[in-house]
């Protein structure tokens, strides 16, 4: 037990060291342990930790940079989206405008066409009227001349008096016809008064 207590720098035998209480160190091991651990500590302090810290720092920066970049991209995307939406709205408005225009144009065309058609039909009716009138007048004129001649012929035959004299003849017939038109001449029957004839 005594050798255990004084286990010091004095060189001790193998037996002493082997029999020493396990909680008392062997000097060579202690010094060797200090030296080796100092070496490990030096390497880690000088080479390992700085590298790891550098990587860590870079990683933190990269993560933060990545976040900034992502925010930038999102901003851009939002801009593009709003731009696109604006364009879309423009296009919609344009389409609506075109449609509206087409509609107004269409109604205009229709009304124009209708007016045209109306005008045409009126023109046709008008010309038809005119033609009818002209034909009527022509017929009247012709009829008049025929009636005149026929009447004079008839009257001449009846009266026996030649009314070939053109000027007289025309004047009588004309007068008669005019009277007829104005209603002065009433068809008369023998034996009846003109007022009772209606």
């Amino acid at each position: 037990m005594h050798s255990v207590a004084v286990a010091g720098l004095a060189a001790s035998s193998d037996h002493d060291v082997a029999e020493r209480a396990p909680i008392l160190p062997q000097w060579s091991e202690l010094i060797f342990g200090l030296v080796v651990f100092a070496g490990i500590l030096f390497v880690i302090w000088k080479y390992v930790v700085p590298k790891l810290e550098q990587a860590y720092q870079e990683r933190t920066a990269a993560i933060e940079g990545g976040m900034e970049q992502a925010a930038e991209v999102q901003k851009q995307a939002e801009e593009a989206k709003s731009q696109y939406e604006a364009q879309l709205a423009d296009a919609r408005a344009e389409a609506a405008r075109i449609r509206e225009e087409a509609r107004t144009q269409g109604t205009q065309i229709v009304s124009e066409m209708r007016a045209q058609a109306n005008a045409e039909s009126e023109r046709i009716i008008e010309s038809a009227h005119k033609q009818t009138e002209a034909e009527r007048q022509q017929a009247q004129v012709e009829l008049r001349s025929h009636v005149g001649r026929l009447s004079t012929d008839l009257a001449g035959k009846i009266v026996g008096e030649s009314l070939q004299d053109e000027t007289r003849q025309r004047g009588i017939v004309e007068r008669f016809l005019a009277d007829l038109e104005s209603g002065d001449v009433k068809p008369e029957k023998v034996g009846t008064t003109p007022s009772e004839g209606a």
Binding site: A11, D14, E19, S28, G33, V36, L41, V43
Partner: protein
């Protein structure tokens, strides 16, 4: 054949593993011999340094597999221990020490179960003491530098104690801070590794003895049971080895944090 073990004992008897077996010298004698734990600790140092330098030499934002693995160990030490305990302001200074302590201890402890090595250098008290000395010197130096001798001693007494009890508490605190803490820090680790290794040795040598050097069917069963137990204990040991490396690092960080803290 009776069931009594004594009846089956052959001429040779079982010698349980003893602490003397932890002294395994290669050359030299006594206190100045070069021992197997030293070789193992050197291997630990070389492996730790080589692996860490190799994996972090080209440290990148997107880590390689090796760097990733290193970071999986580094991040808990840096953030889980150093930053949480020492505080965000000053922890970076102490990260190398804590990381070195953890890596060294983890691999040293695991040497207990790594084939061909199968001996934890931390099962020799000199190595836990060596690491504790680093931690001890650093945390005491910080405390004396920050607070001065009087300030340090004052900071040991919690405020609000009755006057008459303070001297006794001061003695208790000084002993705790200057002796008990480092001693328990080293001995806790050593004890766990030493006892764990002894236990594994016991189950393996015992199993081997019962299986090969004993007659009787029941000893074969016991031998196999002993080996199975050794396997189970090995798994348990791995857990203990992680845990002890972690606790040592955690306490080192706590002691440093105590030295930095201005108010107590």
């Amino acid at each position: 054949m009776s069931f009594s073990p004594l009846a089956a004992v052959k001429t040779e008897s079982f010698e349980p593993p003893n602490p003397q077996e932890f002294y395994q010298r290669f050359f030299g004698h006594g206190d100045w011999s070069f021992t197997r734990p030293m070789v193992l600790f050197l291997v630990v140092g070389v492996v730790v340094c080589t692996f860490l330098v190799m994996t972090t030499r080209k440290a990148a934002i997107v880590p390689s597999k090796g760097q990733w693995l290193t970071e999986q160990v580094y991040a808990p030490i840096r953030n889980g221990i150093a930053q949480d305990i020492i505080g965000t302001k000053e922890f970076l200074k102490y990260v190398p020490l804590l990381f070195a302590v953890f890596c060294t201890l983890l691999l040293s402890n695991l040497m207990s179960v790594i084939p061909f090595f199968q001996f934890p250098p931390t099962g020799r008290v000199a190595f836990p003491i060596a690491l504790t000395l680093f931690v001890y010197v650093i945390y005491q130096a910080i405390a004396f530098k920050r607070k001065g001798v009087v300030g340090y001693l004052k900071s040991l007494i919690p405020p609000g104690l009755p006057m008459w009890i303070r001297p006794m508490i001061l003695v208790l605190e000084i002993i705790t801070y200057f002796i008990t803490r480092p001693v328990t820090l080293a001995l806790r680790l050593f004890g766990n590794m030493f006892a764990g290794h002894m236990l594994l040795l016991l189950f393996i040598t015992g199993g081997e003895f019962m299986l090969l050097h004993q007659d009787g069917f029941q000893y074969k069963i016991f031998g196999i049971g002993s080996f199975l137990m050794a396997v189970l204990m090995t798994l348990f040991e791995i857990l203990i080895e992680f845990l002890q490396a972690y606790i040592f690092t955690l306490l080192a960080a706590t002691y440093i944090a105590d030295s930095i803290a201005t108010e107590h």
